[in-house]
């Protein structure tokens, strides 16, 4: 165990120097651009906001089912089959058919090739599963159909979230999918997430609908509240124009009223629709509805045909800017709920870094002093391995651009404390071996050999714990598992290559000394 080939020595040295260089590049700016990776600081260290959003898919499912009903009606009507008494129950459509049509309807629903089973060719699964009772059919989304639906609404939502966050212009936001109905938003450096929260909390479904003259709610109209919550109006359900047709929106000042308004531009289709509706509706009040609430309802004085318009509604400049932003980025497919939020202010982050580094330095110094007190020369060797270990650990973290969190720093300090264990095991074993073996080189050699399995066993157990934490843990705790796990690997390297190399050089030189350890 004490012999090292030249090639191996060179490899070890190069490897160590390289990783040390990586590690140090975090602290010093080197002139070259060979290596520009850095350890990322977690949100708990640099400050920032972590938001977990959950998409509420119920409206999406209902909407999808409603459009499916229309599709079904038409499809079966073309085949001269009458479907009636449609209703929607959670994830299912229920309808009735004439008793002599049951057989045929069942056959179509079962047919993998029919148009109403669009998924089968691709996924070998129906979009809907069905059950029947008497003359009633109940079609429910199949597991696959539901997953597909959720995924597509999540993809859409994530895109909108990204646009909204980008528009606000925070630095390097991190937006990720979590499962099939969640979105993780990390906003480094942001200490007040209120604005982003209010932007993400709105679906931003914009519609233009006429206010009807009727005083009672009836079929084809609905009662909606104004934004201020004071007034109400009966609004026709017919949607003249929706936010989909908007190509741009920005806050402007209306020169006549000196009011802040949101100006918008429509695409060609939108302009046409809008022109047509406003031509026929001169004199009527047009309600501008956002997420089920009326922002304002101006009277149409003349047809608006240019494809541009303004929304007024007691805006401040900030609220007009936000509305414009929402309209530009488009509507979410479904509402998002914030189910978890963690925000750390930048000064707390800095305090944590300072405290972490202070405790690392003190912990390191204590362990180093203790080892020198206990083992003298060999304590010095163990400490050398410990320093290398730290450099390697930070080097590896840099190489993989890992995220360092506060518990991660704790993991590094803990590694310092536990890393000497392997060297202690070896040194204690060597002490035992020296009692029976006069030849120092042989004693050292068998000390290394005999302690090897123990060291391996002992480290594998901690590695298992780190591994499980990595897969089960989240956020800061994950950072801990990374430093702990990588720390074990670098510990083994520094003990078996660095410390053993120095030990062997030292022992070979001093093989005739009496009390060496």
């Amino acid at each position: 165990m004490l012999y090292f080939s030249k090639l191996r020595i060179i490899t070890v040295i190069i490897f160590t120097l390289l990783l040390s260089y990586f590690a140090l590049s975090n602290f010093f700016k080197f002139d070259d651009n060979l290596f520009n990776k850095n350890i990322n600081l977690g949100l708990d260290l640099q400050g920032g906001s972590y938001l977990l959003l959950e998409i509420d898919n119920k409206p999406v499912v209902t909407q999808k089912l409603q459009s499916k009903i229309l599709e079904f009606k038409k499809y079966f009507k073309d085949k001269n089959l009458i479907l009636k008494n449609f209703s929607i129950d959670k994830n299912s459509i229920i309808f009735e058919v004439n008793s002599n049509d049951v057989e045929q309807v069942r056959k179509i629903l079962d047919d993998d090739e029919s148009e109403i089973n669009p998924y089968f060719q691709q996924y070998k699964s129906h979009q809907f599963d069905f059950t029947e009772e008497n003359n009633f059919f109940k079609l429910s989304f199949s597991r696959y159909g539901l997953v597909l639906l959720k995924n597509s609404s999540l993809d859409q939502a994530i895109e909108i979230v990204r646009r909204r966050v980008d528009e606000v212009g925070t630095n390097e936001p991190n937006i990720l999918k979590r499962g099939n109905d969640r979105i993780l938003v990390e906003l480094p450096g942001l200490d007040n997430p209120d604005r982003i929260k209010s932007l993400l909390g709105k679906t931003a479904n914009l519609t233009f609908q006429f206010i009807t003259q009727k005083s009672e709610q009836s079929f084809g109209s609905e009662k909606l509240q104004f934004e201020d919550g004071l007034e109400e109006a009966i609004v026709s359900k017919r949607i003249i124009l929706s936010g989909d047709n908007l190509v741009d929106a920005k806050p402007t000042m209306n020169s006549q009223t000196n009011e802040t308004v949101v100006s918008f531009t429509l695409d060609r289709v939108g302009a046409k629709k809008f022109g047509k509706a406003t031509s026929s509706g001169v004199g009527k009040r047009l309600a501008i509805v956002l997420d089920g609430k009326i922002i304002s309802a101006p009277s149409v004085r003349e047809p608006i045909i240019g494809g541009a318009g303004q929304i007024s509604g007691n805006f401040t400049f900030q609220s007009a800017t936000d509305l414009a932003l929402l309209l530009r980025s488009g509507a979410l497919p479904a509402p998002l709920n914030i189910i978890e939020e963690r925000t750390v202010g930048p000064d707390l982050g800095q305090d944590s870094i300072d405290a972490g580094i202070l405790s690392l330095i003190i912990g390191f110094a204590l362990v180093v002093l203790f080892m020198i007190y206990k083992y003298k020369t060999f304590g010095f060797i163990a400490n050398l391995a410990l320093v290398t270990n730290l450099l390697l650990l930070i080097g590896v973290l840099t190489l993989f651009e890992a995220t360092l969190t506060l518990p991660g720093i704790a993991g590094i300090i803990l590694t310092v404390g536990m890393a000497v264990d392997a060297n202690v095991l070896i040194f204690e074993r060597i002490k035992e071996e020296i009692k029976n073996e006069k030849n120092l080189i042989i004693a050292f050699d068998s000390g290394y050999t005999k302690s090897r399995t123990t060291i391996l066993d002992a480290n594998v157990t901690t590695l298992i714990a780190a591994f499980i934490l990595f897969f089960m843990g989240s956020g800061p705790v994950k950072g801990f598992s990374v430093t702990l796990g990588v720390g074990i690997l670098t510990t083994l390297f520094s003990v078996y290559f660095i410390a053993r190399l120095i030990t062997s050089l030292y022992v070979i030189k001093n093989k005739d000394k009496e009390r060496i350890i």
Binding site: E341, F370, P407, A410, I413, L414, G417, A458, I464, V477
Partner: protein, 297 residues
């Protein structure tokens, strides 16, 4: 090498451990754990106040007037820093935190919210579930590893030692109502790893000695093995405790609970690898045959 008669106290310490475990289990059963917002849901705010004159009851009173459910206020490190926790969580209202802040500054002067954590009920129950799964899974993984490496008697001994450490650590957390949050789960897992590590070192030596000395009874043999590895056991505990003490004292308030759990774990882990793991080998009458038979298989 030392020659202390650890084995003379096997019985006494086993009784002590048993009592501690029973007390811990009773505490866990009847008093329960003090879950933080990670596992219970709700809101946590780290508040820094402007002046030193603000005392806890003043802050508690102003929070109590805001209708936020159960409110708890604790000092957090500095004289000016407090941790406020309450049941209500309402992240969907973007003004929720802002309103609290303005109400609070109206009654006690300028405040800075250094940290806000807001965890919904669904997320907190998921976090709790995954925490429990993580600990269970790591215990199972350790069990399997040690089963593959050693004989089942050793495996049982090591697992009992780990259970002992985890239960007593949690018992102490329950006794002093210390908060259980995500980082405590990380600490418990690390304790599991550390305790295992310590036990494995002694077990490796027991196994080696079993092969070497056919005629020494396991009762005596464990004692020899403990003594042979004792200096390592002590040195490693000391260096680990030095590192942990440094985190506890200088690493800031956020890491206090974590490092405290780890310190308990290291102390009990070291104790249990001597006084729980070894007596079980004695109890199961492990002998040279145990390992020779296994190796023939």
């Amino acid at each position: 090498m030392t020659n202390l008669a650890f084995n003379k106290f096997y019985k006494k310490f086993n009784v002590l451990s048993l009592i501690l475990i029973i007390i811990s289990l009773l505490l866990l059963l009847f008093k329960g754990l003090n879950y933080g917002v990670d596992f219970k849901g709700g809101t946590l705010i780290e508040v820094r106040t402007d002046k030193n004159s603000n005392n806890i009851s003043l802050i508690r009173d102003s929070f109590n007037q805001m209708n936020l459910g159960d409110v708890s206020v604790k000092k957090f490190g500095n004289e000016t820093d407090f941790i406020v926790k309450f049941e209500k969580q309402n992240s969907n209202d973007p003004k929720f935190i802002e309103n609290i802040k303005s109400k609070l500054s109206n009654s006690i002067g300028d405040v800075d919210f250094r940290r806000v954590e807001n965890v919904g009920p669904k997320v907190s129950s998921e976090l709790l579930k995954s925490g429990v799964i993580a600990i269970t899974l790591s215990l199972a993984a350790m069990l399997i590893y040690i089963w593959v490496r050693f004989e089942w008697q050793f495996s049982l001994g090591a697992i009992m030692a780990i259970f002992h450490d985890v239960i007593i650590t949690l018992g102490i957390f329950s006794l002093f109502s210390l908060e259980i949050n995500l980082s405590i789960v990380a600490a418990v897992l690390t304790i599991v790893g550390y305790s295992m590590n310590d036990t494995v070192v002694i077990f490796d030596r027991v196994r080696e000695n079993l092969k070497k000395y056919a005629d020494i009874k396991i009762f005596e043999l464990t004692n020899i093995s403990i003594n042979e590895t004792l200096s390592r056991t002590i040195i490693t505990s000391i260096t680990t405790l030095l590192a942990l003490l440094s985190i506890y004292l200088f690493g800031g308030e956020i890491l206090k609970g974590f490092s405290f759990a780890m310190i308990l774990g290291v102390v009990f882990g070291t104790y249990s690898s001597i006084y729980i793991a070894n007596p079980i080998l004695v109890f199961l009458k492990v002998s040279q045959k145990t390992i020779v038979k296994e190796e023939k298989d």
